[in-house]
Amino acid sequence: MKTIYYLILVPMVYLAFLVFIVGTIAKLAKIFGSPKNPSSTLQIYPQKNPPWFWALADSFLMPSVRRHKPLHWVFLMAFHIALLLLIIGHLELFEGFNVFQFIPHELFLGKGFVGLVLSLTLLFFLFRRFASPVRDLSIPEDYYLLILLFLTVLFGAQMDWARRWYSYGELGPGDYKTYLTSLLYFKPQVPGAVYNTGHSFMLVLHVFFANLFILLFPFSKIMHSFLTIPMNKLRRG
């Protein structure tokens, strides 16, 4: 079992990040290396100036979703904000990454509620795909990604909840820091707590599903993380 744990926690993480980085760069190079559209513009009028500002506003605030699907917008905003906080939380697991400590806080941000918000929003996104007309638009990729993200978040968040809400103390940020920082410096070190505590299984599953998600990232619609801003710029002129 320890070998399987190790394979997931070390080689699979490296593989996932390698595929993610190479795949994403290759995909972006292919897209941005394609010829430009022959039309002088693809924008929607009237133009609002400066277009780049409105393209950023469209990308980060999603005003069209707020106008047409307000409930969906609330969940989308909550999801993306929580995701950002969670990414910051994970970056802070690298030793020395203290940029966001200008507001002193305990790891992770949000006292467990960030994970809760992510879990609930993902369930909302999943359940709304069960109903028409979104059901008719959905394809397997949409379900796979939501389920994968939900599992990743659930196993990750439940460790945080246990620690924050139920005083679970056998496995914590100190162990995560040692593990993640060692991966960063290519000197993999898996603390004993990661293998032997009650939550080891949860952590390994969390990392496993996260690895799968990262592996699939460049080949999925999640590439919208990189493409939405230039697309909105095209629309804004």
């Binding site: 995909k27 292919k30 897209i31 941005f32 394609s34 010829p35 430009k36 559209n37 022959p38 039309s39 002088s40 513009t41 693809l42 929607i44 009028y45 009237p46 133009q47 469209d58 990308s59 999603m62 069209s64 979703v65 047409h68 699907k69 969906h72 989308l76 709304r128 028409s132 007309p133 979104v134 008719d136 638009l137 959905s138 394809i139 397997p140 990729e141 949409d142 796979y144 080949f219 619609k221 590439m223 919208h224 493409l227 939405t228 230039p230 697309m231 909105n232 095209l234 629309r235 804004r236």
Partner: protein, 417 residues
């Protein structure tokens, strides 16, 4: 479908894969925000008219042949083979889309459905299953560009016959030709449609403004764009570009045809002339005092339908409103945000397909009918030939009780000597 045909079609698909198209193919999250954007879905309630649903028909083929997942894990994105049936699906999707781009306003990523449908249209052209009539009209336009001499005499005779009607609307200076043609060094080249209604009012207004203008030998409409064939679109466009360069004009003015204007404005590249719509030119004449109009000519309330290719996609928004406010004090705006104005349902070549699409055109735009009725206006004006035809069909079918008029005709009728 045999392998060679499929390969040829996939080469055509590949030719459409520019940067923007790849954005649109890679990004849709199928969130459903666009659901209510399409007039056809909003009027008929059928899922196949939702923009994201249309996109996916093209995207599934893209995934099959242009992405690794099509081979490694086809179930992931439901990638689909290019077959006769797939072509039929593409045809249904493409020729029920007017290319109005209203859904692009809704999409949080800004996906352009018209662009994606252009792939579908090109595959239909490649397989010879495009609407025959559009293809024939495009071929005729291309042919006219190649052998103008054959058409010239008939064209000039036809134009000569219209001159009396132009003079009836505006008596110009003695000795000046009411409809000048092929004038080298003219300031403005007017590109009309094949029809007196597109030439007479425009000529009267040019003459009233004292414009140094000349009429193009070619019709503005670009059937190559309607049928979705970039090669023919370019050939049809180049006829006008070459004529404008030969005559050394400073401005090319496109008649009331949304697609013609957008194609000329946005696809002609860097040229020694500017491109304007006739609506912009008329607004300019009024602003500069080159023409004057009688504000009390029309006693009825007037509303204006923004042609999608002119307004949302072409930026001609303030000009028609300025003109209408000069023409009447009874102008009622149909929308407070032109980005969301409903399409008339006639674009994308649907009107040119005539009776073949009439039933769909009538059923798919009940939202437009409601929008017009809500204004309570008696005159419905627009600045696009397709929109005019479609709105007239809607008016007859739904008994909207309006008179459908071209904006340029209203201007010509209200000219003050």
């Amino acid at each position: 479908m045999d392998e060679k045909t499929r390969d040829d079609l996939l080469k055509l698909f590949q030719s459409k894969l520019n940067e923007a198209m790849r954005f649109y193919l890679e990004t849709c999250s199928r969130c459903g925000t666009c659901t209510e954007a399409c007039h056809a879905y909003q009027s008929m309630g059928q899922v196949r008219y939702i923009s994201a649903y249309r996109h996916e028909i093209v995207r599934r083929i893209y995934k099959k042949y242009f992405k690794g997942q099509g081979k490694a894990f086809p179930a992931w994105g439901e990638s689909k083979e290019l077959t006769e049936m797939a072509l039929q699906e593409l045809s249904e999707a493409a020729y029920s889309c007017t290319g109005c781009r209203r859904c692009m306003v809704y999409c949080p990523h800004g996906i352009d459905t018209q662009m994606l449908m252009s792939i579908a249209k090109l595959l239909l052209v490649g397989s010879g299953t495009e609407p025959e009539i559009l293809s024939m009209l495009a071929d005729t336009s291309v042919e006219k560009g190649k052998s103008l001499e054959l058409y010239k005499e008939g064209f000039l005779t036809g134009i000569k016959n219209l001159e009396a009607q132009v003079v009836e609307k505006w008596k110009g200076e003695a000795g000046r030709t009411p409809i000048p043609v092929d004038v080298e060094g003219a300031d403005l080249l007017y590109v009309a449609l094949a029809g007196a209604h597109s030439i007479i009012p425009a000529a009267a207004i040019f003459n009233a403004a004292g414009e140094n203008w000349t009429l193009s030998f070619f019709e503005a409409v670009n059937f190559g764009a309607f049928v979705g064939d970039p090669t023919r679109t370019k050939l049809i466009l180049e006829r006008i570009i070459n004529e404008a360069r030969r005559l050394k004009v400073k401005e090319v003015c496109i008649c009331e045809c949304g697609t013609a204007f957008r194609v000329m404005k946005q696809q002609s590249g860097k040229q020694p002339f500017t491109v304007s719509s006739i609506t912009e030119v008329h607004a300019r004449y009024l602003r500069e005092g080159r023409i004057r109009v009688d504000k009390n000519k029309s006693k009825e309330t007037i509303t204006y339908h923004d042609p999608c290719q002119m307004a949302r996609n072409g930026g001609v928004i303030d000009e028609p409103r300025y003109i209408l406010n000069q023409l009447t004090s009874r102008f009622i705006d149909m929308t407070d945000d032109v980005r969301y104005n409903w399409c008339c349902g006639g674009g994308g070549g649907l009107v040119a397909l005539g009776e073949d699409t009439l039933d769909f055109r009538l059923k798919s735009v009940s939202v437009k009918v409601d929008q017009v009725k809500k204004t309570g206006a008696k005159i419905l004006t627009t600045a696009c030939e397709n929109c005019h035809t479609q709105l007239s069909d809607l008016n007859d079918h739904y008994q909207m009780g309006v008179e459908v008029k071209f904006l340029s005709s209203l201007v010509a009728d209200a000219l003050i000597h």
